[in-house]
Symmetry: D3
Subunit: 251 residues, 6 copies
């Protein structure tokens, strides 16, 4: 079973980081850092499919769960990364239940969906019974990051075989017209987060979220988010490298 489900079943929070460096070595380094999962960010990260395959293989050297943030709600790439062994996908910019239905259909084998059969690396990595366990194995998250989505929460969350909602607080702030990006204490954003948490609870979905601020990551877990992604590898590299330069040069 997908180890993330075990964490959630035990009432714990899974902590995740995004990968934006298109490289298998940095991915393997990150996979040894202790995160429960890593999300290869094919939307804003600098990778495409070929590099993503190498990154999945690198992460496969550890028990860290590899997820993919899809570039878009496109069945071709969705099915391709699942065949390559991704254990879950996070789809950006979901605006409606129809879009979730399209996403879920691409991720599930018939009769539920139209995922095409050919899980080459998924089978080699997860076993010959992959097709049978794929429904449990493959996590499907819909990103809530637009005002539209915030209004359609009930419908979005009601699509069968979706596993969770995942908040993109930067885009959501922009879409809500907020001044400060991803300020989780901003009442308007907070109100949406609360509704997302409540909806997830009601619909038995996992509530996930991304944050660039480390303190917020803990707070969000306390608020009830069960899957919290804190920043990405190139942001971490920038943060530590700049801190070192500042120290070394007495800036």
């Amino acid at each position: 079973m997908n180890p993330l489900r075990k964490i959630w079943a035990e009432g714990r929070t899974s902590f995740d980081a995004f990968l934006s460096i298109p490289n298998s070595w940095s991915a393997e380094v990150m996979a040894h850092a202790g995160f429960d999962s890593l999300t290869i960010d094919m939307q804003h990260g600098m990778m495409d499919f070929q590099t993503t395959l190498n990154m999945l293989q690198a992460i496969g050297n550890t028990d860290t769960v590899p997820l993919i943030r899809l570039p878009w709600n496109d069945p071709a790439i969705t099915m391709h990364v699942l065949d390559a062994g991704a254990r879950g996908v996070i789809c950006p910019t979901i605006n409606s239940a129809e879009e979730v239905e399209a996403l879920v259909s691409a991720c599930r084998y018939p009769p539920r969906g139209f995922r095409s059969y050919g899980p080459l690396r998924a089978t080699i990595k997860m076993g010959p019974d992959y097709a049978k366990v794929a429904r449990q194995e493959v996590l499907v998250f819909a990103m809530i990051e637009t005002a539209n989505a915030a209004e359609q929460l009930e419908a979005i969350a009601s699509v069968p075989d979706l596993d969770g909602l995942f908040v993109g607080p930067y885009d959501l702030s922009v879409s809500l017209g907020l001044q400060n990006l991803a300020d989780i204490y901003d009442p308007k954003l907070k109100e949406v987060l609360d509704r997302i948490l409540a909806t997830c609870k009601a619909k038995n979905l996992i509530a996930g979220i991304f944050t660039g601020k480390m303190e917020d990551a803990k707070t969000l877990a306390e608020w009830g988010f069960q899957h919290v992604s804190h920043t990405h590898d190139s942001a971490m590299l920038t943060e530590i490298a700049k801190a070192k330069v500042k120290f070394l040069k007495n800036l």
Copy 2:
């Protein structure tokens, strides 16, 4: 003129980091962090020539000076990275003046050396007069990281057209049979460092060194090292990622 020479002429220390992730995007991220130079580590880093070319192009988006730690004292790769636009090389495991002579000869055009003419990217990047300025542009460092080298300092430092010595304190500690690796306060290592500094001063060479400890980097600069490399990108990534996991999981 190579910007590092300007820093040294002003009596300042240049601060550098090594790159071990074989990727142009992480290299570009690092190039924006504020280091004076970056050293692509073709010895222990995970890259080869093709990736190194892409990394040189990435660093070329900034004013950061790109250096190469060579995989070995091999004229083929030495000349290749210089043609690709490296502005200096650091050669590992130098044991004698003869080895320095071989290194310098591979880096300098005739009559001084035997570098072959064909600076494709070097010319495009540094101008049509590249061949004329190459002697000043291209920095050549010999690594002092064996007991042998520590005994041959005078001879090594006397080879004409060498620009500096660069200490590899880990290998040097091992070679000296020291218990603690790279402990700059260990009297035996300290004695060698002092002699290297004195030799550099006497021979008008730049004294460079690598260190994995941030505090040591400053100390080494105070002791007189003019070019100090503090750790590498994948070590930085490990450091910050593990710190984040520790915080998030209350470890």
Copy 3:
């Protein structure tokens, strides 16, 4: 003229294999094995466009005809692989005549379709008259692998400028709700195969099919399939490597 058309014109069956290893060397090895054509599988195989280009170049060292299984019915990648010199495409998961029309339109130059002009490698490889011969040169197959498609056969097969139907028996079995995957003797599957053969005959289309079983490949040719793909390179590698291990270890 596309050599496959010559084979079919002579009443012979073309035998093909799929390529799922994203590599030009394994592709060149396969291209020397004697198959009439090779299909680079961009759907379930592990390659994307850049590797596909290299594989097309590798196959170009032989007379083997390079085909592409598209990742999806997407005009961007369809036109891209044709520009790169693919001599035919097989489009997965066709469900309706409208989808075939979209596929054919992406593959044919105006006035029939909307393929954009810029056949860089196709022209260099197939000659300056490429645009004129492209209609004959480029084979377009629609995959029949859903129950929907099986019901729409007549309409699907009637779209002008389609060259053939290609059966995906695994997905088709799943979609038909059959217990055993790709069992060509299963009456329900057999009935669909018969109708496909009859439709192809009536509409003057080529009947193609994939099978993972070598014996079935011959049987299917006898039943009338003119283009039979038998398994893919990584499946072959698994098959022979496991057989060798079994022999060596007396398993």
Copy 4:
């Protein structure tokens, strides 16, 4: 500010070339040739995203403005190349105002569009204020290369936040049913070009065009096209290499 806007503001014509060789070194060579901008051709050129990133980094060594011809009107790749630092996009095969609206929406941040926030390389390259200046920085061109588009000029040009029209004369000739491709003196093609120029003037849009003929490039600039792309790198390579062979072999 995007340097192309400065050129146009001064009433000058920007000269551009397309890149079809999927390589960062040839891109850097081209970036030093003196063109005002270079357009990485992801439609007919042989590259995909990963190579495009490297090419953007290579061009970033110079002041040449990097543009992208998109493979298709697909928000995923459009947003991805903008995040990677492209300073403008040219979208092929636009047929209607609705398609322009989709294109523009993918290129503009809310509230105008739905571009998702995460400009990793764009920010590192163009500064922390990127989001604020993105509207001015990012150029959006709609390609006019079908008879449909030629009839919808007024509507297409009226979509807010579009920056220019870009003529694809080869596809346009084909679509208009003309015998000679891209003959700018053909009255039927000329008539459309005139209307495009007039429409651009009326709507305050930039008029751009591609041409394979060097003399035509100058003529088109005189006719009023403000952004003229003359051929692509592999065509140039073919032209000069064949000329050399002809001379050397007295052909």
Copy 5:
């Protein structure tokens, strides 16, 4: 401890295959086939360092032991692949004890050898104590494949810290001037094999060998070879693909 040592300690034979396809996916497929180890062939295989790194990561998804056949007795690449996590090296064309000494020195840390310290991936994969266990972890094989080597067996086998001899029967046959390549029943070749086996026994070294013939692999194990490599991935692919074509086309 290196799992191969465990196999040998138990008196069993380890069975291995070479990898000549420069690709991480085919490597992962092979790693699931059941061989005890896989040898990435950097000499005659089509890979270089960057691809080798990806292949090491792919094999790392399984318990299969990754070895490297070095391109040559060159300390740069030897140390590089060990840093990248290879658990053993096989060095071609050894002709003398001096050459073995150079090989072993490059593979062992001081004081035994001069391997430079920086085991980036080796440490991440094999643990923080890597430096301490490296002597046991890293297997060093010298290839016996020249008449010279056959005459120097005693001296070659006496170099301390070598782990085994590995016979290259093709080159050895050529070098011995034999008509049939790698015919293990040829008395002249057999005589050398017997001496190698005896020498290994006397010196407590592992006797390894490559063979292209599956039956010979078993025979060689019975003769006393403890590590037997049977052919490589692209040869396997050729074998099975040609067999399939033969069957399908009734050849």
Copy 6:
């Protein structure tokens, strides 16, 4: 038989160009331009082995003969590119007969040399008899580009199984201390060229040379050079691109 031998046997001159762009598509474009051979420049060009393999495969789409300028006189890479299907090598910076002997030995199978057996792509491309025809198939050129070499001509040319001398006029000019680089009319350079031509005639070797000037290429052929390489792809690209910019911008 190597087509170049046929050209020379007929008393004709073979015309060649170097490739410095590390890309298979530009290589394929160049291979269609009409040169008799193309030399992948692994010394000053921007490629390494992996890209070279792809370029060899690209050139293999045509009858153009693929040669390699080696990065250095190193048996590892020499044997590797021959295994990958290069039909000849040109070794830089030869200074003595001993160096030629080392080069030739790496290129010839025993008993003449020590080339190791494993011609994977060479066999697939040139046939199962490759080992037997390799002596004729593989061309070995020693570069004369130092004053040392010019003095050792007789000895260098006397090494058995060398096929030709290849002049590097830029490095040779530098080494001779000449003011103008590669001025073939400079009496000092001319004298060496004459001696090289005479030596080749006497020793039955092919006389080859590189030149950056198109007129000189013809002159050199008239003087007796049988294999003339005129410039490289990125120089051609620079030449034509700058010419176009000059025309377009009236510079």
